[in-house]
Symmetry: C2
DNA sequence: TATTGTTATACTCTATAACTATA
DNA sequence: TATAGTTATAGAGTATAACAATA
């Protein structure tokens, strides 16, 4: 395996490790990874159903169910749109905001041991390299 | 957000990007991410059901279904254990090996544009940092 | 008694197709 | 006609509980 393939392989392995941590953090609050993503998106947006579906890369019908289940738990709510009587906005309830904030802390704590394997200078270097990857 | 939190955030975002690429590559062959993981594991091992479940972090009953569906497609097979009449080994069929090899190439091709954003020296540096993370 | 694997059951996630209401 | 959202339906993925066969 050449150097580039090795880097790709480690990127994949790292991603699985990170996703496992995220899944576990979500599961501790009876949330799926998708529901976790919904909370994360709604922290900063109040999208219409179709916009939320686009963000998630899912069909609108799938998002209807996701929002249903999350609303039943009191984490999100639907609100009518001002300008389009067909459209529905989704937003976090106060309980949803609290859970999202809790999860942010818990996920940071759960991931910290990973980056803690690097000295501060290398952590920073990793951050810079990943930023370029995400461009 | 401090430097460490920013690195963590980029690690999470990168992981989602990588997982999206993997999901898409798998979906192109009508495979879920979990089925992709099964093929990857079986490329180098012929585990018992319980071992496969442990690798995947899933219950044995879930793996029974996964192996059922994959076997029905002719990608994997069950074989009796020599030493334990209760145990069942899972392995790739020739078709499973061919698909796994194809996927390896397709995933490398799909991920390459990501690391290609870095010059070779930085790619290598990233690989080294990720290797430390995975230790 | 403990372990291996399967089956029955239930719920979540997801997509497709058909529908309603509005634009 | 086209778009926003929901509902009905179907299949995959997952876990729990109960079971049969073997250790």
């Amino acid at each position: 395996m050449d150097a580039e393939a090795e880097t790709l392989d480690r990127l994949v392995q790292t991603s699985f490790t990170v996703m496992a941590v995220l899944s576990q953090a979500a599961a501790a609050h009876d949330l799926s990874l998708t529901q976790l993503r919904v909370l994360a998106i709604l922290r900063d947006h109040q999208p219409k159903m179709a916009e939320l579906a686009a963000h998630l890369g899912l069909d609108r019908s799938s998002v209807s169910g996701l929002v249903d289940r999350s609303a039943k738990r009191g984490l999100v709510r639907r609100t009518a749109s001002k300008d389009d009587a067909r459209a529905v906005h989704v937003s976090l309830t106060p309980a949803g905001h609290r859970l999202a904030a809790t999860l942010t802390v818990e996920i940071a704590d759960a991931l910290a041991p990973l980056t803690a394997k690097l000295p501060p200078a290398e952590q920073k270097r990793l951050g810079i390299l990943l930023a370029k990857l995400l461009d």
